[in-house]
């Protein structure tokens, strides 16, 4: 029965979960190389100005840096717990963990706001008079600091937005949209009706007669379901977004010691 239905209905969203994940990883690799270029820049200039870099790093607050590291690490945990919960059919826990992840991301950005704000207040920003009076090495350190943590912060914001989108998909009522193959429709015209039939062949109700006047059939089904059911397409959405989030965490794992812990 299900075989038959599948031949009539043309799926709008063919799914290849492994392919989707490979695509995501390839995208993440481009991100690694993007940040990798900046890390190389950092390495070259740190080798050139070792003393200035140590001096400039004393301006950074190790405590805030450590707190932000813990926030991102914990958010990585909650997002992976969200995946595990969805796989186990615990949608509520999955949604809760996902919301927690976004909140941790928000906490990270709030810290960043105060951290940057504090520094800018003290006149330490690229091109500022105070910074320009420092040594070339210190100027370079702060240029790299703002560029790298800024780009990273942008990634945190994007990650939060993406996870928010996934949260919406998991929380909303599932909607299936199907479009009937026109050539098959032509065969049925005038001698068919659209009906709901159970797995054991009982007709549960006629939805519509398909006569010569019917030109096209689009079916949009939205339904309520219990905790245990979930749309597998949501799982891959969640998994790929989580991969992005983890990458943002991995980048911070390197940024943290390189900027905050070299004093």
């Amino acid at each position: 029965m299900s075989q038959h239905t599948e031949s009539v209905v043309a799926h709008k969203h063919p799914s290849d979960f492994v392919g989707a994940k490979i695509g995501m990883w390839l995208f993440l690799f481009t991100e690694v190389l993007l940040f990798g270029g900046l890390f190389l820049l950092y390495a070259v200039y740190r080798a050139k100005y070792p003393v200035d870099f140590h001096l400039a790093a004393t301006e950074l607050d190790t405590f805030i840096g450590t707190v932000n590291t813990l926030l991102l690490l914990t958010s990585s945990l909650t997002v992976v717990l969200s995946i595990e919960a969805l796989q186990r059919g615990n949608r509520k826990l999955s949604i809760g963990m996902l919301a927690t992840t976004i909140l941790f991301g928000l906490g990270f950005m709030v810290n960043k706001y105060f951290e940057w704000g504090h520094k800018i207040e003290h006149g330490l920003y690229p091109g500022s008079e105070k910074l320009l009076s420092h040594s070339q090495g210190e100027i370079t350190f702060f240029q790299l600091y703002y560029a790298m943590t800024g780009l990273h912060g942008l990634h945190v914001l994007v990650g939060m937005a993406v996870l928010g989108g996934v949260l919406y998909f998991i929380a909303r009522k599932p909607v299936n949209k199907e479009h009937m193959n026109p050539t098959i429709l032509r065969r049925f015209q005038g001698a068919a009706r659209l009906a709901v039939i159970s797995d054991n062949g009982n007709e549960l109700g006629t939805v519509a007669r398909i006569d010569e006047d019917v030109r096209n059939i689009d079916i949009r089904i939205s339904y309520e379901h219990g905790e245990k059911r979930f749309d597998p397409r949501n799982l891959i959405k969640l998994e790929n977004s989580a991969l992005y989030w983890h990458l943002v965490d991995v980048i911070w794992i390197f940024l943290f010691p390189l900027f905050y812990l070299i004093t």
Binding site: I22, T66, E239, H246, F254, F256, L261
Partner: protein, 111 residues
């Protein structure tokens, strides 16, 4: 659940059904390692400090990728792809530093 073998979700579950515990364990490890880097930064060990900090960061990111990002449980093609990334980055690094270290121009970076 007669269609279980068709269900990609069920397949995923079979693939990554690790349970919550392992993730919490990895998280504890990551927090401890963070403490280690912060503690070591306080000790004055000069050049060694960078090495240790990068080593700890590498261990931490390996843990995140292997367990949180499921790389350990994906088909081998994922790990091969990752190896290609590392080799690519290593080539960039070698090319850059071979230029920076051995360049002889009026505005040399070193010396």
């Amino acid at each position: 659940m007669q269609h279980e073998h068709h269900d990609p979700a069920a397949h995923e579950q079979a693939l990554h059904g690790l349970g919550y515990g392992i993730y919490i364990l990895i998280w504890i490890g990551l927090v401890v390692l963070t403490g280690v880097t912060v503690a070591i930064a306080g000790v004055d060990v000069r050049q060694l400090a960078v090495l240790v900090a990068m080593l700890v960061a590498s261990v931490k990111s390996t843990l995140v990728m292997a367990y949180f990002m499921h790389l350990k449980y994906e088909p081998p093609v994922f790990r091969w792809m990752f190896l290609v990334l590392l080799v690519t980055f290593a080539i960039f690094m070698i090319l850059l530093f071979s230029d920076v270290l051995f360049r002889s121009s009026p505005n040399v970076l070193f010396g």
